[in-house]
Amino acid sequence: MEAPPVSVMPVTGGAINMMEYLLQGSVLDQSLESLLHRLRGLCDNMEPESFADHELVYLLKGQQGNPFLLRARRSLLHPPAPWHLRYLGQPEVGDKSRLALVRNCVDVSASHSLPEVLNEMGFRMDHEFVAKGQMFRKGAMKVVVSKLSRVLVPGNTENTEPLSLSYLVELSVLAPAGQDTVSEDMRSFAEQLKPLVHLEKIDPKRLM
């Protein structure tokens, strides 16, 4: 019943700018087991965490410029857990980031009324998908191996169809801006996963 310390101010106004460093690749279904086996050996000693998430991508069309994109994700394995809202900025251009894709990242945990509030704010759902897979950790690095599936009937996550015959592999680190050694550590870890999977920096703009 004690008063919480009033002097503790929440983070506001972009005081902490977190950046996401990302390398991506993929493996065919039949090669999944060998990759998981190697990851279990290389990563921190713990059982990999399995997940099944439903992600909805929302767009807010403004007067000018590109629409604002937000990703809302909820766990299908732990329904009472909060929703996770993520904003990813434009990739940083420059020599420093030649090893990995670097983007500004804002992560917000939110209550279950998130879809309603996003709609009220003017966001419209563009597409949704289900991602199922496993997550490994090595220090600050996170490796996620997931199968993406298309949702056939909007809102129905039981009825899905895999998007491809492969698994998406993502190596990422969340760090404050200005840490140059991160992408080098990521690159040396990615080398250890060759030739099972080839992780590289994929510019999302090149895919559009």
Partner: protein
């Protein structure tokens, strides 16, 4: 957290906001309440830009409460509300080209926190642009989360220091389709503060309120 009731207390005849607040503090101390720190609740207004239809755009209120320092609440008046972590403020900064912060509309209530057995009473001075506009009183009964089970007790307690200013059962509870037996959450408290702040915003500036 327990069931909360937020109400506005009018400034006493011939007295200033500060004097009325001091009188309430004295009454609580006479009852045996103990001062336990400070509190603040604030509310920022955002309005959507780029509304092509020409209709008045909806207002998004982003509120903070010192009782939940790591959270941020986003509400639409009479509409859905969201509780999120403090990074939601950072997200609103990223959204500044779509949602403009009406800085002059920021309302906040600051004051002392009193504890009387299982009750928490927070007497705040409601201010907008550094001028005191009114007084908010929040009474929380920490031992219960069901409004229907403790409203009579809360009302009796409030009458002992608010007298005729004791409010009725807040509409945020009576308007719920499931009725008064549903547990409360932080959105119920923030909706009540939002109602109070909206009323205060529409009121005229109090004479003699001055700069705090």
């Amino acid at each position: 957290m327990g069931v909360t009731c937020v109400c506005q207390v009018p400034v006493s005849e011939g007295k200033s906001v500060q004097q009325t607040v001091d009188t309430l503090h004295k009454k609580l101390e006479q009852l045996g309440a103990v001062k336990q720190g400070n509190f603040w609740v604030d509310c920022e207004t955002y309005h959507a830009t780029g509304n092509a239809t020409g209709q008045p755009s909806k207002l998004l209120y982003v509120m903070h409460n010192s009782e939940t320092p790591l959270s941020c609440m986003a509400l639409f008046e009479g509409g859905p509300g969201l509780s999120a972590d403090a990074n939601f403020d950072v997200l609103m900064v990223k959204l500044k080209s779509h949602f403009q912060n009406a800085k002059g509309h920021k309302v906040e209530s600051r004051g002392c926190r009193y504890r009387y057995c299982d009750f928490l009473v927070k007497i705040g001075t409601v201010a907008m642009s550094s001028s005191a506009r009114g007084i908010s009183v929040e009474v929380e009964y920490c031992a219960c989360v069901i409004p229907g089970d403790c409203w009579n007790l809360m009302k009796e307690f409030m009458q002992s220091f608010l007298g005729s200013n004791t409010p009725e059962l807040p509409t945020v509870f009576t308007s719920k389709p499931e009725g008064l037996s549903v547990p409360v959450d932080c959105m119920d408290t923030m909706s009540q503060y939002l109602e109070l702040f909206s009323r205060v915003r529409k009121q005229q500036v109090l004479p003699g309120s001055g700069v705090r």
